[in-house]
């Protein structure tokens, strides 16, 4: 059975494996690669990673399920993580998030009907002095208000490549054309 991750990212896989004396350590980096490639970690993605690392797919899936940055269900092209933890909430993050959800016309955790945006609230992102803030595809956007946010949303709707994250721990992951 074809392994799309092994076929498309051989150099990256070789480099990643060379970093660790135990190949199991590569499960986290490879889950990111599989998530970037497939969009989310479905069964085939899990099995590809398990196959490369000679791990039980159940163990790989347990890793994917444990961490918030691995997504096991479909998501929009732009994955928004808005911090509403205490320090951000003290500087207006709850109100900002409420307004953002209204703007996108979705509830917390949902994806917009055009498939563009998935929006979730998350715990502290390490940017407490620039609240309200969020990460879009793991890139920081800080000191936000709804005016700036609407401009960002429009920019990304116009060109989704502007919202994709091309950097993967220093090694370029091919950015798929939308």
């Amino acid at each position: 059975m074809a392994n799309a991750i092994l076929e498309n990212y051989k150099d990256k896989i070789d480099y990643t494996l060379s970093k660790y004396p135990d190949s199991r350590s590569a499960v986290m980096p490879l889950l990111y690669v599989a998530q970037e490639h497939y969009g989310y970690l479905h069964s085939e993605a899990i099995e590809d990673v398990a196959d490369i690392l000679d791990m039980d797919p159940t163990q790989v899936k347990s890793i994917a399920g444990f961490y918030t940055m691995y997504r096991e269900t479909p998501k929009g092209k732009v994955w928004l993580h808005v911090c509403t933890d205490l320090p951000c909430a003290l500087r207006g993050a709850d109100a900002f998030y409420h307004d953002l959800l209204n703007e996108l016309q979705i509830e917390d955790g949902e994806t917009t009907s055009d498939g563009m945006f998935t929006c979730e609230h998350v715990m502290c992102l390490g940017s407490c002095d620039t609240a309200p803030m969020l990460q879009a595809n793991f890139r920081f956007h800080e000191s936000l208000n709804m005016e700036i946010m609407k401009e960002l949303l429009a920019k990304w709707r116009n060109d989704v490549n502007a919202a994709l994250n091309p950097t993967r721990a220093g090694h370029e992951v091919p950015v798929k054309k939308a």
Partner: protein, 427 residues
């Protein structure tokens, strides 16, 4: 003074050539001309304490590593996830080579095989920058093979987490790095011991800020470092200010500086028309400290915070002013711990779940006075009985807030008050 935030004195110190031209790598060169034991003794003598929160003496931790083991590791804890903490990110973004140099000096001191920098997954691009810096150091024989021609090789690797506060706990970090679930280990054996570290090998786990202090200490000496701060709290500390303050941000100040100076001179004081009510000094994990004229005069050291029944910890200062509802703040913090509990230990897994449910009942006006007693009972039954400190910390947002601000919780009882608490609730 700027031991860590050198970008305030040297523009573009994040660039290799600038770092190298401004004393960069002098500490590494000096360390490699000393024996590992001499380096450990110098760091011990400096009284440097861990800056991640526990404040454990750094040189002492390094000295626990058995010298005769063939394989040893340095694991840099860049998982920075405590609410209100954003200091390590600034060090890595603006002064990355100082962290890398400090990590290698630690590696030399314990004769490590490799350095792994475990960054929280959300610092994705910070990791990419560190990779570029490491590659640059390798080009100049300052990392990787045959460092400085001394025949000692030590690669530095970055490794990304994927969104789990628990992976900042040193043993959970090691499990995560090994490709296992990020859950803590039974100790002993401790990470520094054979069988307790990364891949079972003796390992030093140190915070980013801790290691970033090491180059300065090597070059300037232990006495110079001890001349800053107090006898038991040497050096500078980065204080992260967030919440109800005019100028949130990171402030590097000598330990022993007064809270008044930090909050007013640097932080600009409370917002217009408001007064400071309370401080959470160590993010969500440390007991809340009511602020008064007396506490504002405190000299900020590990020992003074302990004497007040709280902890300095990571110095992640979340400020709450007189308009803030402490019960609401407690609920926010418990939601954090409930989300981040890894699930391994029953008291933490069940306890954080039930504290969250009960605080929801409080802020929706449905609780009675008996419920407050039950919450306190549940909280105190989590402390001291879990495999890691997350359980201990998770009880503090309840125990310390109800102890110091009980009346604010009592306002809600029997339908006295209601506050919406879900994420996305308008202010």
């Amino acid at each position: 003074m700027n031991i860590l935030f050198r970008e305030k004195e040297v523009a573009n110190v994040h660039e290799f050539d600038v770092y190298a031209a401004n004393g960069g790598f002098d500490a590494l060169k000096k360390s490699l001309s000393m024996t590992p034991k001499e380096v450990i003794d110098l760091v011990k003598a400096s009284n440097l304490r861990g800056r991640g929160g526990a404040g454990f003496p750094t040189g002492v931790k390094w000295s626990f590593i058995p010298q005769n083991e063939a394989v040893k590791y340095v694991a840099v804890n860049a998982d920075e996830s405590e609410p209100g903490t954003f200091k390590d990110r600034q060090i890595m973004e603006n002064n990355p080579y100082q962290l890398l140099e400090g990590s290698l000096i630690c590696a030399w001191a314990i004769q490590a095989t490799a350095v792994y920098i475990y960054l929280r997954g959300e610092y994705w691009e910070v990791a990419a920058q560190l990779d570029r810096c490491i590659a640059k150091m390798q080009e100049h024989n300052l990392a990787g093979e045959n460092i400085l021609g001394k025949g000692w090789s030590c690669p530095i690797y970055t490794h990304l987490g994927a969104g789990a506060y628990i992976c900042g706990e040193e043993s959970a970090l090691l499990n995560s790095l090994e490709g296992k679930l990020g859950q803590p280990r039974v100790r002993p054996p401790f990470p520094a011991q054979k069988g307790g570290g990364l891949y079972g090998e003796p390992t030093v786990v140190n915070n980013v800020e801790t290691l970033a202090n090491v180059p300065w200490i090597m070059v300037n000496g232990a006495d110079a470092y001890k001349s800053i701060g107090t006898e038991r709290s040497s050096g500078t500390k980065i204080f992260c200010l967030s919440g109800d303050v005019q100028r949130p941000g990171n402030y590097e100040l000598p330990l022993g500086t007064t809270m008044r100076e930090l909050l007013y001179t640097h932080g600009g004081g409370p917002k217009d028309g408001r007064t400071f009510k309370a401080l959470l000094p160590s993010g969500a994990s440390g007991p809340i400290l009511p602020l008064s004229e007396e506490t504002l005069d405190m000299e900020m050291t590990y020992e003074t915070f302990a004497s007040k029944g709280t902890v300095l910890g990571s110095a992640s200062f979340i400020l709450l002013d007189d308009t803030r509802d402490i019960a609401w703040a407690a609920s926010k913090m418990i939601k954090f711990f409930k989300h981040e509990s890894c699930g391994k230990c029953t008291p933490c897994r069940e306890g954080t779940y039930w504290m969250d449910k009960m605080l929801d009942r409080v802020v929706s006006g449905k609780a009675t006075s008996k419920d407050l007693d039950t919450i306190l009972d549940v909280a105190s039954n989590i402390q001291g009985v879990t495999l890691c400190a997350l359980g201990d910390f998770a009880a503090n947002p309840v125990l310390a807030t109800i102890k110091n601000f009980r009346s604010e919780f009592e306002e809600y009882l029997d339908g006295g008050k209601v506050t919406a608490i879900h994420a996305g609730a308008a202010d």
